[in-house]
């Protein structure tokens, strides 16, 4: 039995998959704590799709695709901010408008240059087949994001909570917002390669949403979210070995199960506790 459980660790690619997933899961979870507070939960989704034209162009110009992706991600998030500020469109319309525009531009580029890239590989992502060069990119991006987030998380909370007040205590609100979107775009690029576009969304929502049910203190919320994101990602990657399944699917399913448990049993905001308050 023990032998069977340890079997995945005999393979280098599995060990790599486990710790890279954990790192990416932790970074995405950190960002999810912020995203879900602003009605920006679908921003991860939007960015993951907006990255496509950047990737396609990067391949066309023979640049590292992470640069193209990051650039496209930033451009997309800035466009969203500008459209949001200058029009009365709602958040969801803004996000939907921009990301479909970028995504279709990406498809257009790919269809004109069919030889240029295998976009499929980027959009679906597969941690088990990732090359060492790509691992290096993913790891560097994640570590840099985590370091910056650990240094500046309080400033970001202040900006997200009350922008005007943040300005009045002398914080550089616009610079911090740009910083956040840069980190978000970068983390999307990293997560794309490990779990693929569809599941990036989940990794950037579920851990934060689960933690939100469990605490009222933001510092604790981040800790819970990161712990959940990291552990579910590592365990999901590990378990995928036995089922010969896609790690991304496993990771997000695990996160969803934990969310459901919190949804029912959370000490203060759980379904059961609420019922008790209502009836008793």
């Amino acid at each position: 039995m023990m032998e069977l459980l340890l079997e995945p660790f005999a393979y280098n690619y599995m060990i790599k998959a486990i710790w890279v997933c954990a790192l990416v899961g932790g970074t995405s979870a950190f960002l999810s704590s912020y995203l879900m507070l602003k009605g920006w939960s679908l921003m991860g989704d939007a960015l993951a799709h907006s990255i496509v034209p950047g990737v396609a162009l990067a391949y066309l110009l023979a640049l590292p695709y992470a640069i193209g992706a990051l650039f496209a991600g930033l451009l997309a998030s800035l466009s969203m901010v500008i459209v949001k500020q200058k029009t009365k469109l709602r958040e969801d319309a803004t996000i939907g408008l921009i990301f479909t525009a970028f995504f279709s531009l990406g498809l257009l580029i790919v269809s004109i240059n069919p030889t240029s890239v295998n976009i499929q590989a980027i959009i679906l992502g597969n941690i088990l087949a990732i090359s060492d060069d790509d691992v290096l990119q993913v790891v560097l991006i994640s570590i840099i994001c985590l370091i910056i987030l650990c240094l500046k998380w309080k400033d970001l909370v202040a900006v997200f909570f009350d922008e005007n007040h943040a300005r009045s205590v002398g914080l550089q609100v616009s610079a911090l917002k740009i910083l956040f979107f840069t980190l978000l775009s970068a983390a999307c690029v990293a997560a794309l390669q490990t779990v693929g576009a569809c599941l990036v969304i989940a990794m950037m929502i579920t851990p934060g949403a689960t933690a939100y049910l469990l605490t009222d203190k933001f510092s604790r919320l981040i800790m819970i979210a990161v712990a959940l994101g990291t552990s579910t990602s590592a365990i999901g990657a590990y378990l995928s070995y036995f089922m010969d399944a896609n790690p991304g699917g496993f990771i997000v399913s695990l996160q969803t199960v934990i969310f459901l448990i919190a949804f029912v049993f959370a000490p203060k905001y759980g379904l059961i506790k609420r019922k008790v308050i209502v009836h008793g």
């Binding site: 507070l37 997200f160 005007n164 009045s168 205590v169 933001f218």
Partner: protein, 287 residues
């Protein structure tokens, strides 16, 4: 140090062409409570935003203690208490976290609170009577308690100038009274307090000076001289309920004094006396 706000010919026109403020010039001194009075859409919030540098005046400029706004904000000279609806009350922060955010400008790169910061937070919470609630999530508070937390945040910031946007909206009378007492004692310590309100009746009870605006500055001066029926009508136009009871409506003797009640649905302003020389009356006044 002087904590003066200087407004030089400040006009604000929004990008859609709508003019929100027209050539407002004034000087506000420390140790004084100012009431900023005007109807909805008269530019009260815009004036606040211009003072805080959140909107750029189309013409004119603002100086705070002789400095550019950006510099003044860096030095934590001004703090701002937002309207209740501007805040996301579901945000997962505790009362003490919110008040601690007032200290960020005093902290280093990592915003790690020092002993002084913690002390400032607990003193500010004490001062508004919210110490018992410091571990509560902000959405669990009543309207008055919410307001007091944000006033505590402004106190923790340690600014000499405090701007409050409609602090009495959605607040019970007891909180209103305790806030007014707090403003009084802050003013006597040399703070400059600027309060926007459309609650006419409470203005005479706590403001030293009043600024009436209707896009332009209609009047600015001590309550006794500036807060007159004539100026109020200029500032509010037809938006006020206006009741006048002349002497003959009130009694049968020769007394010709009249009562005027001005209200925009909150606490009314009551003027009483000979026509033209009516005085502001307050609950409990003997006339």
């Amino acid at each position: 140090m002087n904590s003066i706000i200087e407004l030089h010919d400040v006009s604000v026109t929004y990008p859609n062409g709508q003019s929100a403020l027209k050539a407002v010039s004034s000087v506000l001194q420390n140790g004084t409570i100012y009431g900023l009075v005007g109807a909805n859409g008269a530019g009260k919030s815009t004036l606040f935003k211009a003072i805080m540098g959140f909107v750029q005046p189309t013409t004119g400029y603002v100086r705070i203690a002789g400095k550019q706004i950006k510099q003044a904000l860096k030095e934590n000279l001004v703090s701002y208490v937002p309207q209740t609806e501007e805040v996301d009350w579901n945000f997962p922060v505790l009362v003490e976290d919110v008040v601690m955010m007032g200290r960020y400008g005093h902290m280093g790169f990592l915003r790690r609170p020092s002993k002084d910061d913690r002390k400032a937070v607990s003193e500010s919470l004490d001062r508004v009577g919210m110490s018992d609630f410091k571990k509560r999530q902000i959405g669990e508070l009543s309207g008055g308690q919410k307001k007091r937390v944000f006033v505590a945040r402004a106190l923790a910031q340690g600014s000499r100038i405090i701007l409050l946007d409609e602090p009495f909206t959605g607040v019970d009378i007891r909180t209103e009274d305790s806030l007014i007492n707090l403003f009084r004692s802050l003013a006597s310590e040399g703070h400059l307090i600027l309060v926007s309100t459309h609650n006419l009746g409470s203005v005479p009870s706590f403001c030293d000076e009043v600024m009436l605006i209707n896009k332009e500055l209609v009047a600015h001066g001590p309550v006794e001289t500036a807060f007159t029926e004539e100026n109020l009508i200029k500032a509010f136009g037809g938006m006020l309920r206006h009741h006048r009871l002349v002497g003959t409506d009130l009694h049968k003797d020769e007394d010709s004094r009249s009562v005027t009640v001005l209200t925009d649905d909150e606490r009314p302003l009551v003027l009483y006396g000979e026509e033209g020389v009516e005085k502001i009356t307050q609950p409990g006044d003997k006339t």
